[in-house]
Amino acid sequence: MNIVEIEDVTKTFGRQTAVNDLTLSVPQGSIYGFIGPNGSGKTTTLRMIMRIYHPDSGRGTIRVLGEESYGAANDRIGYLPEERGLYKKMRVREILRFYAELKGRRDFKTAADPWIERLDVTDWADKKIEALSKGMSQKIQFIAAVIGEPELVILDEPFSGLDPVNTDALRDAVLDLRKSGTTVIFSTHDMDMAERMCDFVFMIYKGNKVLDGTLEAIQGTYGQDTIRVKLGGNGCDLSAIGGVEKVNDFGRLQELRIIDGADTQDVLSNLMKLGKVEHFELTRPSLHDIFVRIAAPDEKEADDA
């Protein structure tokens, strides 16, 4: 069963089309990652699922949890907006109680205490929000989103601003949510995170859907066109090698994208002429690389303009 079903939905603001003719299905119990450059329509899509925005009239339908009704208020959905979302002057426990009551939970303590303990915010529970660090308030925000035990959790960039320890803690919490049957949609700029966590990845670019599916399926469409290379010596320009379309230099490691149909053996022998090949791996492109392939050409155009 699909928790979210978006069909042919368009959303425009004035003359600008934020989301264009989008169709998307989010199966129950999955973790769905939304990626895309800034301003490409991620947050607009999330807000439409939240029903804070309505799609342009007469353009498609959005069915969430089997309902097509209007009005954003839904106790079965939890939401974490991009940054902030908390009253600065309230204390942590007060604000969690407030959000719990708004979602119809009366047993605030049993709902909140496990989360407070789990995300290690016990020491901060009686502090005011304005006294918290960015990462700490992000965790409070997360608890506020899940405290009503929603069936669908929508997280807009939940990992931004977190240190590695807190990132891990929050990631484990999200994975546990899925284990308990909750469907999670989150947007992120962290491609590694999306690669490792998501059952499905959806990429929106300039309002259009450009990727949608499991990571394997997405990578599959690009084939094994990437070579990871590590060369001894001081390094040299690899882009001159025949059959290489593009070089991503990571410093100690280079990623070569090869021209469709080029012979990888030729590339290897050319590399061996340049120096000692310490590592040579034929692989599928990473999500990061795929993202850049889609988004970069235009960014370059934008830079030129």
């Binding site: 807000r47 939240m50 804070i52 925005y53 009005g71 954003a72 208020a73 839904n74 106790d75 959905i77 939890g78 939401y79 974490l80 907006p81 991009e82 940054e83 902030r84 979302g85 908390l86 009253y87 600065k88 002057k89 309230m90 407030f98 959000y99 009551e101 708004l102 979602k103 119809g104 506020a144 989103a145």
Partner: protein, 439 residues
């Protein structure tokens, strides 16, 4: 409804728990009552140094009168109680003959002015030659009081009073008329300002109450100032609260839990609760104050519930407008300019309250008091002035106010709904109107 209450409770708590609320609670009476208190304190601190005045009596008949009156004044008028234990609370008036060397009047003036400048005297009076029997020369028919302290009026008025009494006497004598007879002849009959009489249970006809200036003007004035103040203190924080929710993206989370109309109603109810808390403190305080002062009959007991009702409705109506503005703006600075038209509406009753007070039943007063934004203040004024107004008028006023408030809340929730998610740019009035009608 339950969620509306959750919002209302949070709004109430966050408003009442702030330092600003406590400060306002204390500061407002200080602001309003401060001038009275300071005035009372200063009463004790009167400058009781002698007031020395030089008199140039060109009639040669009036100086003695003035000197005698001054001595009488200094013996009887300047102490707070009679007898030896009386404390001196007013200055002595010391009258002396002008000591000048020159003969020329202009020179004398100059000389006396110098004496004032040198602090030898406080002021000087030149009594015209013909003040008793006025002649052709206008400058000789008048009394000239010169001083360097034009705002201190007590001495000038006292001199004028004493001299004119004496001049009148002298003129009557000259005309061979008995001053007592004349006094009686020209005495005016006072016109009392009375209410109506009614028959009480025992069949007695009550005595008409003397209409009291305090009750008829001060009470309505205090009531509408209180109402105005509570609207400003109570409803304006809504604007900040909405701006915070908008800028901190709290609104998105809230809208995911509660429909905008209920959210608005919750915020408004919380604010009404807070305003009524404030009002209760002031009303109880006011009641105790007038009771202590022994003038409890001036406390407007009969209309107090109407007052509370109108206060609540005023906060609701203006609160919804403040929310709408908060939702349409991106920062506090921007909201200030958008606020102006709403402020004009809030203040507008203050422009016409005197007219309404003096003619509470004029057709224009009735019409003005049924104009919803002005209803709370103007209706209360009309109710406060005896004998009050027909019951249907405040009832109609409440009905119109309720309708306007619901429309206001609806409009505000539409603006809230659209405006709250707009980031980075504020709305124009035209856009706000479009949101109201298109949603």
């Amino acid at each position: 409804m339950r969620k509306t209450l959750v919002i209302a409770v949070r709004e109430y708590k966050s408003a009442v728990k702030t330092k600003a609320f406590l400060i306002t609670l204390v500061a407002m009476p200080i602001l309003f009552g401060g001038s009275i208190v300071v005035h009372a304190l200063l009463e004790d601190k009167v400058d009781t140094r002698d007031r020395r005045v030089a008199v140039l009596d060109r009639t040669d008949q009036l100086f003695q009168t003035l000197d005698n009156a001054a001595q009488k004044h200094n013996q009887t008028e300047i102490f707070d109680q009679e007898g030896a234990q009386g404390k001196k609370v007013k200055p002595c008036f010391v009258v002396q003959e002008a000591r000048v060397a020159s003969q020329d009047l202009a020179q004398m003036r100059l000389e006396l002015s110098e004496q004032v400048r040198n602090d030898e005297i406080m002021s000087f009076v030149i009594i015209g030659r013909d003040v008793i029997d006025p002649g052709e020369d206008q400058s000789e028919n008048t009394i000239a009081y010169h001083s360097n302290t034009p705002t201190y009026d007590e001495l000038r008025r006292w001199i004028g009073y004493v001299l004119n009494e004496r001049i009148r006497e002298l003129r009557l004598e000259a005309a061979d008329l008995d001053s007592d007879v004349v006094q009686k002849a020209i005495q005016s009959a006072p016109v009392g300002n009375l209410g109506l009489v009614e028959m009480d249970e025992t069949g007695q006809i009550t005595r008409a109450e003397e209409a009291n200036r305090f009750a008829t003007i001060i009470v309505p004035f205090v009531l509408i100032m209180l109402m105005f103040m509570v609207v400003m203190v109570g409803a304006q924080p809504l604007l900040q609260s909405v701006l915070e929710e908008k800028m901190q993206r709290i609104a998105e989370v809230l809208l995911g839990s509660i429909p905008p109309f209920q959210l608005m109603m919750g915020k408004l109810l919380g604010t009404v609760g807070m305003s009524l808390t404030l009002l209760a403190v002031y009303l109880v305080g006011g009641f105790l104050a007038v009771q202590k002062a022994g003038v409890v009959q001036f406390f407007p007991t009969e209309i107090i519930w109407w007052f509370v009702l109108f206060q609540a409705l005023a906060v609701l109506l203006f609160g919804s407008l403040f929310i709408a503005i908060g939702a349409a703006c991106t920062d506090l600075k921007e909201s200030q300019s958008m606020l102006t038209p709403v402020m004009v509406l809030v203040i507008s009753p203050l422009f016409v309250w005197m007219y309404v007070l003096q003619q509470p039943n004029a057709p224009l007063s009735v019409a003005l008091s049924l104009f919803p934004p002005a209803t709370p203040m103007l209706m209360i004024i009309r109710q406060a002035v005896p004998p009050g107004i027909p019951l249907w008028q405040p009832l109609l006023g409440v009905l119109l106010l309720l309708i306007t408030t619901v429309l206001g809340v609806l409009a505000a929730s539409r603006i809230f709904r659209v405006g709250i998610l707009m980031q980075g740019k504020g709305a124009k009035f035209g856009e706000m109107l479009r949101w109201i009608f298109r949603g």
